[in-house]
Symmetry: C2
């Protein structure tokens, strides 16, 4: 108990589950880390794909510059897409002031199946956010300390472990302490970019020495810019990789309730600010990276190359830039630790995931969800060797699928709004539908958003298919299938349990009490005592697993209990459960409709290792007999209190001899 | 059920547990495999240690021959030791016609502690027999197929898996089918040796080309023959490694009951025959190995080098020799699969190991013991990379410790026999003590045996200490400590449970019945029905983990049960067990000495995955409440029968809508 409190903190009462309203500035810091942190790897991942063509080019350095320069128009395309999604999500924030994640919007407007599609997509992507962000964060650290590179998997798994412990303790997600890393990162990154652009304008910005960085090694075939369709395909692949910059943009729509009133307006303003910052950083980083001839590499991140050119290799500011980047990536991973368990709990309370996920632990956190997330993310990190580039093809399909679901939902919702009369307000499932004269304009925005994110998702799936996207394309339908199996099970159980509002018949029925006797000692006496106390007729049976012992038990019963009837039931195959089940069935066929009340003793020990030294038949029998109809199972525990192990040494040898006889006589089988 | 029957076979009745008496010829084959198979690696392990000096010599090939030649006197020394142990064990066979393993002899003559020392030593060594024999067997196969060398760990673990399955099915250890591998090995080995010696005499025996085999790589410092004490120490180390030839010699003394009458005489003759064969093979192999300049290697075993020189590389007979050797090593491992679980069951029935180990499974085998042996042996194989040489320093300490215990026990026994009058017969614990005029001579033999095996064990422990023997020297005392902790626990439990022959007081006591209610539905109705059927006053409580739900439960109780009293117990920390325990304690303080009878419903599902979707509070509460005194715990199962998942698709939408309402109303928390 003490150890767990030290690790996870003191338990908290349910009433402590409260939200504090936060300002826009804090809100930006809290919810933007996921989105903004993706600038740490988005540019690099575009360059890595383009380098397949760059290396393949004949006149390497000249063409490389040209090919890698394609990253700038790609970044601009992605920024336009980001703008579309932002405008579309701004509408969702106003429509769902109590939180409008893709799951809720899809459930509210599209129905069960689309909601589960969005749920599966988001859960998958929350896991990937942790794996990608932590891997990218570790890559910043190993860029500064190259000696740590061989240990990156250990470092990443270690960080996941720590972040899991912190989250099992429970963190106030809206705490202002979270603002520090975000603003620190923004400060140092803006400083880097300003100095970089000033030097670039002044012509004093150096370029990366190709000898100082090892180019990313592509195991696949190289494509030259002359290759036509194959090159176009590669450009689309680079675009897909860069689209990971859009991940996390939906965070604010999940957390509207955390904002001060007017919540929707404040959240919407924060969303616009976040997107503006994201676009600025992303394009600036990409332009500067191309200008310094950054070399996509496994050993040093593009951010590190940027910092090294601007501030000098190993300088304090180089260190601060990488530290700040690692920190905001850590914050991004932390966001998933709040979002994943919350969405899982939501799906569980809808009956699509195990109900246990709705249970808040002693520390008010959804412990099961946190642990599942941690294990899945750590597994991905280990499988992909903590390589961001290895994880990227799995990432963002889910996010774009959820974008599509959410915006399709909004388009359907606007169709309903369009049918309202001016000033009309209709009660909806989640939020009220309010008349809006601009419904058509808003619907068109949502449709544009839905179509563009859907197209990007298809581009993503096709261009990354063989690099890992196939796994996600198999996983999401599998998850949806599992969700519905679980749901059907809960529906079936609810159906079978339902009283349909009627009062059930609880007229008393006959009860046949059977005591299971393994041996005759104090525990047996306790069981007989309880059976007699119930003031009901009873009889005892012994399953003769060992025929010699059965005879001894019969004799001891006569001698020490001396009342009631003990029946010896043969068990030629040394089984316990089957002869009991047969015996019960015989009773039930003689007296249909009766309850068979099986009573068994149980030796309860103080510690688990002592408990493991006993057969604990009561647990196993309980499991087996619970599958029989109208059988009630009672355990009468007899608590063995532990005494000091060394006590026996002080005993006289006479006492020891007496004990030996008792052990012989009373060998405990239970 | 079908899969397990296919894998493990049909279950067997207890009466099928019978022995068939076997002849000396079959007995030799069955019990000798462990001992004789050690000739497959004993010579090689001597040469490997000597090669540390051989490589260190300046004039390499000339001195190497001389140094490796030391293996011949070492083999002769070991054979003398073997003769002493054989003569000593022959006496044990006559004294214990019902089986005289070291554990039984030590327990009978020396007491609890020496018996447990012997038990710990033997259990450790049975595990090592499996690991060493399987590794050595795989080494024979990879000698013939060098391409398989990188897969030796997988092969060894695979073989352990197969042998485990076979033993979980149960094998008749005395079946004559076991004679085939032993006699096949003997046949092919004798042929090899005869041809080898004939060629050696004729001068046509080739020597191994040093370029064809890679010498075993020693990571340790080399010792030259000029090094004095260090060289002497090395010779002792080589002697220790060779002493593994003695392992398995005790097998016959464990299995005397399997022989035809006169059992002891037949077993004793078989023992002598076995030792004679073992000595002949061991010395012959060593002499021939030295003659062909065998090169101790990790890639090719000495047996393979012998076969290659005698029959030609890759010839059929080379293959048969290696196959036969691998087969007898497999048989040797199989012997431990009978001995380990049997000894563990013996110690468990004496209360020094968990009682579960005495339990024979549906196939009449000690399943737990077999599985523990398999896991431990496989772990050793993986840790030591399936290298016989890596495992050897752990091996044989246990065997020699058990030899010492057994022979010390025999010496003590002879002292007692010496006090008898001519013709006198005294009842002993295990077997009768019978007057013997040669008692003094026999006692001296036992003492010589005890001293020499003890000295060898010390040599072993000292020379191999840093190479792994330290682990066994820590493990054995740890095991003994654990055995006594377990024993003290069982003694304590027996003490607390003992009725001391008196009739206990079972006067009926007051029973307070409390129903735990999670929600109100058919399962709840079943629980109330049972409580009413008991014809006892009862009341119901609901633990308000979720205050809103508590209100709904209270309302539904009034509406649908409408009788009895439902109390809402608050739980601010969302705990279930603690508020219940507090409630029970309150009852007990009001009414001392009463039974508190807690009744809870349980949803029983057809499959485990369905069961896992429910909270199964009854299991957890049972575990927690069983630690409280005078609390009796009853589960009333409600069986949910599975229906076809697709059935719902045929339902009318009206029915579906009705179901939806029910799910809303009856959300199942349990």
């Amino acid at each position: 108990m003490k150890v767990s409190e030290l690790m996870f903190g003191k338990r908290l009462a349910t009433k402590d589950l409260a939200h504090q309203a936060i300002s826009k500035k804090i809100g930006l810091a809290v919810f933007a880390s996921d989105a903004i942190s993706s600038t740490a790897y988005a540019t690099q991942e575009i360059l890595i794909i383009l380098s397949i063509a760059a290396i393949g080019s004949t006149n390497m350095w000249q063409t490389q510059g040209a090919v890698l320069g394609i990253s700038i128009p790609i970044a601009i395309m992605i920024s336009i897409l980001l703008a579309i999604v932002t405008i579309s999500y701004r509408q969702t924030i106003y429509a769902y002031p109590n939180g409008g994640g893709a799951y809720i919007v899809a459930r509210d407007n599209l129905g069960e199946v689309p909601a589960q599609v969005a749920g599966a997509a988001l859960l998958t992507d929350y896991i990937l956010t942790v794996a990608v962000s932590i891997s990218a964060g570790v890559a910043q650290i190993t860029s500064y300390f190259p000696a740590l590179l061989p240990y990156r998997v250990y470092m990443a798994v270690g960080v996941i472990f720590l972040i899991t412990i912190v989250n099992l303790r429970g963190v106030k997600e809206s705490g202002s302490i979270f603002a520090i890393p975000t603003y620190f990162f923004l400060g140092i990154m803006v400083l880097t970019l300003i100095i970089g652009f000033v030097r670039l304008a002044g012509g004093s910005l150096a370029t990366i020495d190709p000898a100082s960085v090892e180019m990313f090694h592509h195991p696949e075939e190289l494509v030259t810019p002359e290759a036509g369709w194959a090159f176009a395909f590669l450009i689309l692949r680079a675009f897909s990789s860069g689209c990971t910059a859009l991940t996390g943009i939906e965070a604010i729509s999940n957390g509207i309730t955390a904002f001060r009133e007017p919540r929707s307006a404040n959240a919407a303003k924060t969303l616009i600010a976040m997107s503006a910052i994201l676009v600025t950083l992303f394009i600036s980083i990409t332009v500067l990276a191309v200008s310094i001839h950054a070399i996509p590499s496994e050993g040093e991140t593009v951010i590190s190359q940027l910092g090294r050119v601007v501030f000098g290799q190993g300088s304090l500011f180089h260190f601060l830039l990488l530290g700040g980047t690692a920190l905001i990536l850590l914050m991004a991973a932390n966001t998933s630790y709040a979002d994943f368990p919350r969405l899982a709990a939501l799906q569980a309370s809808d009956g699509f995931l195990p109900r246990q996920l709705t249970y808040r632990g002693g520390r008010l956190v959804f412990s099961w969800g946190i642990m599942f997330l941690a294990i899945a993310a750590a597994a991905l990190v280990v499988i992909e060797d903590a390589s961001t580039t290895g994880l990227i093809p799995l990432y963002a399909i889910g996010v774009f699928l959820s974008f599509t679901m959410s915006q399709t939902g909004m388009a359907v919702r606007m169709q309903k709004v369009g049918k309202l009369k001016p000033g009309e307000r209709v009660k909806g499932l989640e939020t009220d539908l309010v008349y809006d004269e601009h419904w058509r304009k808003k619907q068109i925005i949502s449709i544009i958003g839905a179509i563009s994110t859907f197209v990007v998702m298809i581009i993503f799936a096709v261009t990354k298919f063989t690099h890992g996207a196939w796994f996600i394309l198999l996983l999401i339908p599998t998850l949806i299938w599992i969700f519905f199996r679980i749901h059907n099970h809960y529906k079936e159980v609810a159906h079978q349990l339902s009283l349909s509002g009627k009062r059930p018949d609880t007229t008393p029925r006959a009860v046949q009490t059977v005591i299971l006797v393994d041996d005759v000692h104090r525990e047996t006496a306790r069981v007989v005592n309880f059976a007699k106390s119930l003031q009901h007729p009873w009889k005892a049976i012994h399953i003769a697993v060992n025929p010699e012992k059965a005879q001894r038990v019969e004799d001891k019963w006569k001698e020490r209990i001396g009342e009631g009837q003990l029946e010896i039931v043969p068990s030629p195959y040394r089984l316990l459960a089957e002869p009991i089940a047969d015996y019960i069935e015989a009773i039930q066929s003689q007296m249909p409709g009766c309850f068979v009340h099986v009573i068994i003793g149980h030796l309860a020990m103080d510690t688990y290792w002592e408990q493991a030294l006993h057969q604990n038949s009561s647990f196993i029998l309980n499991l087996v007999l619970s599958r029989m109809d109208n059988v009630v199972f009672t355990t009468v525990p007899y608590h063995i209190h532990r005494t000091d192990d060394d006590e026996g040494d002080g005993q006289t040898s006479a006492l020891k001899a007496a004990e030996k006889v008792e052990i012989e006589a009373d060998k405990v089988g239970a």
